[in-house]
């Protein structure tokens, strides 16, 4: 089974690359608009050899992890607070619902005005993009707690606090995990958006810089790296969660960010 789980996606990717190579060999595509696979690999090797790839990747990775961490750090306490307190819910719900409808990219001009063009603005965009999935996931998990399990706690004489920590929070974990994975994916997407504007390092910057220099091969190389790191970070997150909470394993297969 594990062999097939690697074999099938590997075959799919290999087929796409083969098709790409064939269209190129047949002369169907303009080498400027879609460079050959070999050219992209060459660009990747050059970038790696010059140390630029590692530098840009590390900058981006740091931004994503920081932004994602901030989102999670904000979303979890807020979700618990709003589930536990009716007044908090009444005040915050309309505000958050409004904020949720606004695409983070629409806020970039404001964020630049407020936070400048430094790191704070980029983190701001990532937080805006990644906050809601994890927040909503956790709230949904808490609100959707099986009241039948809560009753087991009540007849056992558990306090409200014990019911929260021993029943409600653990039972919210599957939805939280889905939220975490979607958030991580959104962090990556937002990162590139943030780095496309006013930036001097990071994979998004590398791509926009390459576009200005008409280096489509580097653009494609950047896209490949972003996709690969996205897949990898999701895998790491899934493995970490699967190890920490073995009972969640079935849920990890179901949800894809």
């Amino acid at each position: 089974m594990p062999a097939r789980r690697i074999l099938v996606p590997a075959t799919v990717f290999a087929s796409v690359i083969l098709l790409w190579w064939l269209t190129h060999q047949a002369g169907w595509t303009n080498a400027y608009l879609l460079p050959a696979p070999a050219a992209v690999i060459e660009a990747l090797v050059d970038l790696a050899a010059s140390g630029l790839l590692v530098k840009h990747t590390l900058v981006s990775l740091q931004r994503v992890l920081l932004g994602f961490g901030l989102s999670v750090g904000l979303a979890l306490p807020l979700a618990v607070l709003m589930s536990a307190s009716r007044p908090a819910r009444a005040v915050l719900d309309p505000l958050l619902e409004f904020a949720r409808q606004v695409p983070p990219l629409a806020l970039i001009p404001l964020l630049i005005l407020w936070l400048g063009i430094g790191e704070a603005q980029k983190l701001g965009i990532i937080v805006l993009a990644s906050f809601f999935p994890v927040f909503l996931g956790f709230r949904g998990g808490i609100d959707g707690v099986d009241t039948k399990l809560v009753e087991v706690g009540r007849v056992a004489g558990l306090s409200r606090r014990e019911i929260l920590t021993r029943i409600v929070l653990p039972s919210a974990l599957p939805e939280l995990v889905v939220g975490l994975r979607i958030s991580l994916g959104y962090s990556w997407r937002a990162l590139v958006g943030a780095e496309l504007i006013a930036s001097s390092a990071g994979l998004g910057y590398m791509i926009i810089d390459a576009e200005n220099l008409a280096r489509t091969d580097i653009v494609l190389a950047g896209i490949l790296v972003i996709g690969a790191i996205g897949l990898l970070s999701d895998l790491v997150l899934r493995l970490a969660i699967g190890r920490a909470f073995p009972w969640l394993s079935p849920h990890l297969e179901a949800a894809r960010a």
Binding site: L149, V152, R154, V155, P170, S171, L173, W247, P250
Partner: protein
Amino acid sequence: MLELDDASRHYIVAGRTVAALDDVTQHFSDGSITTVVGRSGCGKTTLLRLLAGLTEPSSGRVQRAPSHSIGVVFQEARLMPWLDVAANVAFPLKKRLSEAEIADRVSDSLSLVGLTEARRALPSQLSGGMAQRVAIARALAQHPDILLLDEPFSALDAFTRRRLQGVLIDIWQERRPTVVLVTHDVEEAVLLGESVIEMESGRVVGRVPLDIPFPREATDPAVVDYRRRILARLVDGAPFSSIQNPRRNP
């Protein structure tokens, strides 16, 4: 002390008031074992939920000694999916007993329900019947003063059901909790109850004391006779007072 005084429970369904439990007064003396039998929807589960304190009466009172601990076996297993079998059984005991005592209780009650081998399994790996046995073990491990069971054995195969009915009687005779068991199975009600409460449309329509010694056999003529009479009452609506104790009135 466990008692319902004129207890009613109403629900509003589509604008109309429906009585799930209607003016029920029943006393369950300490250390007794009582079974409650009736059709689906007759209010048995509501009665049990009132006794457990999970539902408040709309009117009337539920009286229970505040010091008495309660163990409940629900119709469904209600296991915590993130805990393995042993941790589920230990769930109500955490922070109330020492780790060593908890470990003993868990081992004892898992062996009572025959699930020692499954102690490390997760609920998702259990069959419905196994999960229900874990739920029974969880209630037994509490050593509760009051043990309330709602159709506890209906998910089990006939062999396991018979064995666990025996386990319940053994535990009751050994520790003397006050037991109230709800069932739609008349034979089970007769096999397990010192008295059988019969319910219909939210009301208690009869309470029959059964003086047959435990353990009872389903083939015992007295058991067969009670079963037949209660069934006749449930199906035909014969007045409950016509059921006499066959030993006193042969």
